[in-house]
């Protein structure tokens, strides 16, 4: 005789969504969206709001790979941008200037073997194999807001390790004030580098104290998976309170310097892109407002937050600085 003992936490079979219904969940939401559209056709803002929530519904739910609570940004989980948007809408000019170019052109990009050179004002300059560069560090899942200088934004579940951990490991000299990051320069693999859109290779930089901030991250994965090529594989950095262009992708070199690095966008258009690139709704880009942003995957704009919502943690880095001058 079979005796079935139900464990206290078991999910009753009646609670389980049928597979068919699970697969049809989008139809359901679609229908909900249509009803929303029909009932809300009193004015465009209302319609927009209804459609907005329908679209968000389709993209919500727990994405793969970061089901456990993340170390930072758990509160952002409900608004995480879809995998398709995170990996299909990219600015990575090395693979073309269109937003969909990187996903198409980076498909065959070789990220192994990969060497990262650490040089300049450090006690332990060295060439690291990527594996050795990452291995000593504990990888964390973190959900960050991502704000592009072009006034769109995402919420991205990154995986990586604090930049500070690496910096301590290589021991900067007291004279080191800045970090300079350099992207791979290989026009055969990166067709965008055949055109002088920017000065190649792409160079970005941070002040040492910014790089040591616990939010600054070296990133090796997204959505719990290995970082896709179009997102800056195999190694990029992310500084969530700065505009996206401050993040250097496919990093091959990290140099510790005493002087402020010449960064790619600052060199290309100094009046539009400063060295700092801090998200600031009060300082407009010369050609567009930075007061609001369009969250990718939604229809309505939302206000942009000071330091991209990380002001309480990072504002101290810039106390006494004129943020209009140091944009």
């Amino acid at each position: 005789m079979l005796i079935r003992v139900t464990p206290p936490h078991a999910i009753r079979s009646s609670e389980i969504t049928e597979e068919r219904d699970y697969h049809n969940r989008r139809e359901f939401l679609r229908a909900a969206g249509l009803i929303g559209l029909a009932t809300a056709s009193f004015g465009l803002p209302t319609v927009a709001r209804a459609l907005d929530s329908a679209r968000r519904g389709q993209q919500g739910g727990a994405p793969d790979g970061f089901r456990d609570p993340v170390t930072i940004g758990e509160e952002l989980r409900p608004s995480v941008t879809s995998w398709q948007d995170v990996t299909g809408y990219n600015n990575f000019y090395e693979f073309g200037t269109g937003k969909e170019d990187p996903a198409a052109n980076a498909r065959n990009f070789r990220t192994r073997p990969w060497t990262v050179r650490v040089e300049g004002l450090v006690k332990r300059p060295a060439d690291y194999q990527l594996e050795d560069f990452i291995k000593p560090h504990r990888l964390e899942d973190r959900i960050y807001r991502h704000r592009c200088v072009e006034a769109w934004s995402m919420v991205v579940p990154w995986q990586g390790f604090p930049m500070a951990d690496l910096i301590r490991r290589v021991e900067p000299l007291p004279s080191a004030k800045y970090l300079e990051f350099t992207t791979l320069h290989d026009p055969r693999q990166m067709p965008g580098q055949l055109f002088p859109v920017l000065e190649w290779p792409y160079v970005e930089g941070l002040r040492l104290d910014e790089a040591l901030h616990p939010l600054a991250l070296f990133v090796t994965g997204v959505y719990g998976r290995t970082l896709p090529n179009q997102n800056g594989a195999p190694l990029r950095h992310v500084v969530p309170w700065k505009y996206g262009f401050k993040g250097c992708k496919s990093i091959v070199k990290i140099r510790f310097t005493e002087t402020e690095p010449r960064t790619a966008w600052n060199v290309a258009a100094p009046h539009e892109y400063g060295f700092y690139g801090n998200v600031n709704p009060e300082v407009d880009h010369p050609r567009w407002s930075q007061a609001t942003e369009r969250p990718i995957g939604r229809l309505r704009r939302q206000p942009t937050l000071m330091f991209n919502g990380y002001a309480d943690r990072v504002a101290g880095l810039y106390s006494g600085m004129d943020l209009r001058k140091y944009y």
Binding site: L34, P45, L51, A54, Q58, Q84, R287, R294, R300
Partner: protein, 249 residues
């Protein structure tokens, strides 16, 4: 109408409006290019001109309601770029009609100039509607700030405003009311609008100017053709005038 325009404005001014009975003479003159387009051709052209707008509307609706990704991750930006592109494409087509007609001798092409011009206007209207409703979200304050503070939007808006009187006066009634000479003069504003549209596009792109550059080259080529044609006709007139004065002397 075309020959009529010649009669009124013999100084090589481009013909006004659309042909009605005109191209008979043209056809007689260029027997080698004797072509009679089918009657339904204009309707096919009009349907084709609507296709991009129809595709866009369908794509947007499908993306919103069915979760497809026809317009990519940033559908509003895509729709703005798409309609702006089609405005410039139709402006280029509009400005290509006169050269094409002169080169081929196909007088019947003239009626497509108005069709293309109105399509250019349709797409710029869609461009502005999408910008104002979906991008600026009906916020008049933000619209005013954009138009006054951001040069590329100021210029773009000006380019649009210049097309409004042209669309209004595109009817036969208005051609009659204004007379060919004044109508032609007014409709030269289309050149200014094309220049403004191209500058607007050029200034709007972040770094990669390839696409606006293509339009700039296209428009420059069309302007160059006109400048050359104008010079040539002036030279011809001078020769004729000289010959006349010689014979009368």
């Amino acid at each position: 109408m075309m020959e009529g325009a010649r009669a009124v404005a013999p100084r090589g001014a481009p013909p006004a409006g659309e042909n009605t009975a005109a191209p008979q003479d043209v056809r007689h003159r260029s027997t080698a290019r004797h072509i009679k387009p089918p009657r339904w051709l204009p309707w096919v052209v009009i349907a084709a001109g609507c296709l991009p707008a129809a595709w866009l509307a369908w794509g947007f609706a499908s993306d919103l309601l069915a979760g497809t990704r026809h317009l990519g991750s940033n559908p509003i930006e895509r729709m703005e770029h798409f309609t702006g592109d089609w405005n410039l494409r139709f402006l280029a087509l509009t400005l290509s009609v006169t050269p094409a007609m002169k080169i081929t001798g196909w007088g019947w092409l003239i009626r497509y100039r108005r069709i293309f011009g109105l399509f250019a206007f349709l797409y710029i209207c869609l461009h502005l509607t999408i910008y104002f409703v979906l991008d600026v979200e009906l916020n008049w304050g933000a619209l005013v700030e954009d138009v006054t503070d951001r040069t590329y939007i100021t210029l773009g808006m000006l380019g649009f405003l210049l097309l409004v009187p042209l669309a209004i006066t595109s009817t036969k009634g208005w051609i009659r009311r204004l007379g060919n000479r004044r109508w032609n003069a007014l409709h030269r504003l289309v050149y200014v609008s094309a220049v403004l549209g191209t500058i607007h596009y050029w200034m709007a792109v972040k770094r990669d100017i390839t696409d606006p550059l293509i339009f700039a080259i296209l428009f420059l080529a069309l302007f160059a053709w006109r400048a050359r044609a104008a010079l040539e006709s002036r030279r011809k007139r001078q020769v004729i005038a000289r010959a006349r004065s010689a014979s009368s002397a």
